[in-house]
């Protein structure tokens, strides 16, 4: 009989503590599958952020380092520069990557660090209770934008792929979502490519994953998926933003 499903080796058997309907579990799985399929598990060092994925080292079955809030690209740089033979990736949320860690993100990208960045954009700060993120949509209500994000007061949603696309050091940028099986397959392809690029020494590769956060959005999981597909992707269009040949 043909085996069609097996345990993903790069994931531990530990049950996730993510909220019901959260996208992180899916994204962890896509990262783990990509690493397994490329045969990289034994030389991978991941960097966990400060945010919902802070416990990533409890879920991934390979070496993981913590980083202060926003600093994963710097920590990844330190690792990759002294251990260029290792596969180094960061897993970061929108607050970590696009607010407090903006400088680290932009400069790692601009240096063309040969690392992979998995950027989970869920339009708010999940772990601390749904506060406004740099990627919060205009009009979106959060714990710290109770009247809705007003661009006059809080500025506009930060579009990381668009922002980084002008930097010469960047090899690959793609925005994907995990709202339905078709999008998940597409997200998997992008994530795997971002790791393959590192194996090939192509430089900085980032995949922005639009993810659902039903609890902090105050929605049912079903409605959160609908919101991603009807609203979120309108502000953050999916697609490839850079693919350096």
């Amino acid at each position: 009989m043909k085996k069609i499903l097996s345990k993903t080796e790069s994931l531990k058997a530990t049950p996730h503590l993510y909220c019901p309907g959260c996208g992180h579990g899916i994204i962890h799985r896509l990262v783990a599958e990509s690493i397994d399929e490329l045969g990289l598990r034994e030389k991978t060092i991941g960097i966990a952020p400060v945010g919902c994925a802070v416990f990533a080292y409890d879920y991934f079955n390979f070496d993981v380092s913590e980083a202060p809030h926003g600093r994963p690209p710097a920590v990844a740089t330190g690792i990759k520069r002294v251990r260029p033979d290792k596969i180094v990736f960061t897993y970061q949320g929108d607050g970590d990557l696009a607010a407090i860690g903006t400088a680290e993100t932009i400069h790692a990208a601009n240096r063309g660090e040969n690392i992979t960045v998995i950027f989970v954009n869920n339009a708010n700060y999940g772990m601390t209770g749904g506060q406004m993120a740099p990627t919060t949509l205009i009009g979106q209500k959060t714990a710290t934008s109770p009247y809705g994000r007003d661009p006059k007061r809080e500025g506009y949603p930060m579009k990381v792929c668009e922002l980084l696309s002008s930097l010469e050091g960047v090899a690959y940028l793609e925005r994907v979502s995990v709202s339905n099986p078709k999008n998940i397959i597409s997200a998997k392809r992008a994530i795997k490519k971002a790791f393959q690029n590192q194996v090939d020494g192509k430089g900085f590769s980032l995949v922005e994953v639009l993810s659902q956060c039903p609890v902090d959005w105050g929605m049912t999981p079903q409605n959160s998926i609908k919101w991603v597909e009807d609203v979120f992707v309108k502000a953050f269009p999916l697609g490839v933003y850079k693919d350096k040949k």
């Binding site: 531990k12 598990r41 034994e42 030389k43 991978t44 060092i45 960097i47 966990a48 802070v54 416990f55 080292y57 991934f60 079955n61 390979f62 070496d63 993981v64 380092s65 913590e66 980083a67 202060p68 600093r71 710097a74 920590v75 990844a76 740089t77 330190g78 690792i79 990759k80 520069r81 002294v82 251990r83 290792k86 400088a103 680290e104 932009i106 400069h107």
Partner: protein, 347 residues
């Protein structure tokens, strides 16, 4: 062996390289600019890593990453930049990662000026970052020390898996002096079971300071405390001269200790009974030696290039047994022999 004329900032680089430093991450700031400049030339020559980071914040986190893979790594900066590194230092202690951090102090607060200073004593020894931690702090007072202490700093960092700071200042960093390029004798390699180098044929490892499980953080802190106690017991260093018959003991570290020694020599030549106690480690502070030196009839003069920081530790050690007076020059000023003699004459 003939001595080599060298700048303090260069000597610390060469000490680091001799000790097997594999990577340097830093950001320019006066008065330590020779360090990134020299490392940018020397490290690639030797096939080692140099990277100019986008900020001191990034630099200390690059240090954290490199350290997590088990290599010897260093960063350097000066006071305002070291303030920016405090977050990373706290994480390094929490994650139990070795690293060498150099502060070539300048005057503050704020941007201050670029002249030498010792105003970061509190920041370095009392924990400039958050959390309940201690950090080994060495206080070089010569170009020779810049070289030797850097090698020592790497050994201590590895031995105790904790960051070590070299608390220098603009004068020691900028001055040139002859030094002996002493050969580095490698220390024994400790436990390496924490190093992140890929989970090949072993269970995955993680480097972390977040401990949310019931009781886990308190247990971690108690373990750290045990380590700090061990460091206090084993690594406290102080240099004393002419203290046996001294009526006045000058307590000074770093550049101020040089002035203390020359003051002592001048006054001894004139028949005055002056001694010097120079803490080499500022943490662990040589509490016991200072306490033993505090004998009736004796006076202490603490000299620092700040408005009175180490003097608090000296007073705690002396514990009221002798008068402790203070001579200091704050950011922008330098302690000097003429003033020190005047101050002693008034005691």
């Amino acid at each position: 062996m003939k001595k080599t004329l060298m700048k303090g900032n260069i000597a610390l680089c060469e000490g680091a390289i001799a000790a097997g430093c594999k990577a340097y991450f830093g950001y320019p700031i006066t008065p330590q600019n020779e360090v990134p400049a020299h490392m940018s030339k020397r490290m690639p020559e030797l096939g080692l890593v140099f990277l100019q980071a986008e900020s001191e914040v990034a630099a200390i986190n690059m240090v954290l990453g490199a350290s997590a893979t088990g290599v010897r790594v260093m960063t350097s900066s000066s006071s305002p930049g070291v303030s920016l590194k405090q977050e990373g230092i706290s994480y390094l202690v929490g994650c139990e990662l070795p690293a060498v951090i150099v502060n070539v102090q300048r005057g503050g607060p704020g941007l201050g000026n670029i002249s030498g200073s010792q105003a970061d004593y509190f920041q370095a020894t009392k924990g400039g970052g958050h959390g309940d931690y201690r950090m080994i702090v060495l206080a070089p007072s010569s170009v020779q020390d810049m070289y030797d202490h850097t090698m020592l700093a790497f050994d201590l960092a590895d031995k105790y898996r904790t960051p070590v700071m070299l608390l220098a200042d603009g004068v020691v960093g900028q001055m040139m002096e002859p030094l002996m390029l002493n050969k580095y004798i490698p220390a024994a390699t400790g436990d390496r079971s924490w190093v992140l180098d890929g989970a090949r044929g072993r269970e995955p490892r993680s480097v972390k300071s977040l401990l949310m499980a019931e009781g886990a953080l308190e247990r971690h802190n108690l373990e750290l405390r045990k380590k700090f106690d061990l460091i206090e017991a084993n690594e406290t260093r102080i240099e004393t001269k002419n203290t046996d018959d001294a009526e006045i003991i000058i307590v000074a570290f770093g550049i101020s200790a040089r002035v203390a020694y020359s003051t002592m020599r001048a006054l001894r030549a004139a028949g005055k009974k002056i001694g010097v106690a120079r803490p080499v480690t500022l943490w662990p502070f040589p509490q016991k030696t200072i306490s033993e030196l505090a004998k009736p009839g004796r006076k202490f003069l603490v000299a620092e290039m700040n408005m009175g920081q180490m003097v608090e530790d000296v007073r705690l050690a002396v514990n009221g047994k002798c008068p402790v007076e203070f001579y200091g020059r704050p950011g922008g000023g330098l302690v000097n022999q003429e003033e020190m003699i005047e101050r002693i004459n008034k005691m």
